[in-house]
Symmetry: C2
Subunit: 344 residues, 2 copies
Amino acid sequence: MRANILKQISEDMMVTRREVARMAGVSEGTVSNVINGKTCVKPEKRDHVMNVIRQLKYIPNQAARNLVTSRSSHIGIAIYETTNPYHMEVARMVEEAAIKRGYMVSLFMLDNNMPDKLKVISERRLDGLVNFMTNLYPEGFIADLKEQGTVLVNFDDDAGSMFTQNYMNATKELVETLYNIGHRKIAYLSNFDESGFSADGRGRQFIKSTGELPFERVEIYYNHDFDAGSDRIGQTLAKKLLEDFGDVEAVFCTNDLAAIGCLRTLSDAGKRVPRDISLIGCDDINISRILTPSLTTIAIDKRRQGEDIANNIIDMIEKNAPKVHIEYLAKAVIRESIAPRPKN
Amino acid sequence: MRANILKQISEDMMVTRREVARMAGVSEGTVSNVINGKTCVKPEKRDHVMNVIRQLKYIPNQAARNLVTSRSSHIGIAIYETTNPYHMEVARMVEEAAIKRGYMVSLFMLDNNMPDKLKVISERRLDGLVNFMTNLYPEGFIADLKEQGTVLVNFDDDAGSMFTQNYMNATKELVETLYNIGHRKIAYLSNFDESGFSADGRGRQFIKSTGELPFERVEIYYNHDFDAGSDRIGQTLAKKLLEDFGDVEAVFCTNDLAAIGCLRTLSDAGKRVPRDISLIGCDDINISRILTPSLTTIAIDKRRQGEDIANNIIDMIEKNAPKVHIEYLAKAVIRESIAPRPKN
DNA sequence: CTGAAAGCGCTTACAG
DNA sequence: CTGAAAGCGCTTACAG
């Protein structure tokens, strides 16, 4: 009873545009023009309206605005591996850039309740959706979004803009570095299957670069399991590696999290990094820099990529800008986890 | 030109409730009742309407629903330290529980563009907001949200429900464990200032427990710097620690990230964990388990807390449920980063 | 430069 | 059990 009365009071206190207009002695349309920064309002009138807005503590209702403009000013980012900090780190950059242009961004963690979340994405009429997943969406979902006019990023070249990384140089540099510091037996632990491995060029480049130098043994191990989590995959692959290729001297992993898992397994087996084995990750997640040993990895400029994604999406939404395909040159970041092969 | 035509076509294709109603030969109100699961619709009519919905691929427009119900079915989580995985880990649990009840949740990373993001929170009429920050909101923000009827969690006892952790037992257990395995010189590196240190009971309990045992030296170091990030603070405090208290044998940190930073500094100074110094974190972030050495820490049940938060918020929104204050008993998780003091 | 009016896509009493 | 109607809070042509 008490709660209901309170609720009603607070409802009454929610001030709407009508009251602002009445109080300011103008029409609702004019208030709208002021709020949306239209230049057609006389400065003194504009200031007056602004004052009334402040006085009344008027807060516009986005839902109403969304309805009439059929824009949500809302961008989604679809991720799958929620435990991998990398996704958050670039999502954060997307958000930071988007908010400056008046867009909010939400993360959709599609590793659980996917159908419910896809429903939310459609029903909220998201203006844009960025794909950070490598796995598939259900039949028709993408088509439905397209029909709604949702701007799609990183789905595929047909669907919309693509922002990808070029790992070739970095991979080449790291392979050569390993060779130069004396390693002759190296392995790659891939969180993808064989076709995924070469999809972003890392695999192709790894095979190419290792082929060009007289390594003694080069192996690639695959474990493509969406639901295991990168760290688990890293551990599993490392176990296989030690069984099959016990005298390996240096290991590449698909990402930093997998490298951390790999490190764990190596350490359990009494192998020390980098004394016994050199270790290389990818992504340069924030934590890699301060791990002990700090992790050698491959980095892209997350801030730049995040900003580019946000700005491109918004340009496409607002100005019908063309879709783009931007490739970022990844860089090798050399840290403690690799070391020269001791002469024996 | 071409783009405009396409846009118009796709706009035309966006099917609304009216078309569903017409096609099904019922009124819009009935379609609404079907969609919202009202029991008052005759089963065969309901099935028929459902079929038409599927056929037309009708997707309800949340913005319209929000406007008329003055509910957004949208919950926010305010975080500050975006680089700390802990927040994401419990946010994910909140989200998982919320989506099952039809609510979406969005993260608001308030370490940047705070005013813009607070504006978004108000204008989107979020139904609920969970606070994960320890720093302050601008004057009036909380009051404004309250006035809007936003359900507030973890702000303060007056403002709404509280979900807190009780670290007392875990802290006591860890202090005693350190003593029992031979440590006599211990320190606490606090990411809070002196008053914050005892706010969640960890500080009080640390002082109490260390006072009850014949330790040789016990020190607490403070560094309260919102913008540094826990890992940096851990590093800075560890430097101070080594200068001031070089023969320290065991160290507590405010959280796992700070402990990782501390480990980094210790390692740079040639100190090994746990051989030379035992190290303890707090939060049990996912990565702590697989670090090398794995991190001794203090854990709460993130899933349970996340579920409780989501369900309480939604119960408050929908059923006017009373606010609650739930305290979770944290548990010590003993791993490799602590070890017996070697006899010398 | 400004106001009156129509309409965005829903939900919810209210009759019947 | 169902339909007609009002209205949620905005924006946007359109007159003037």
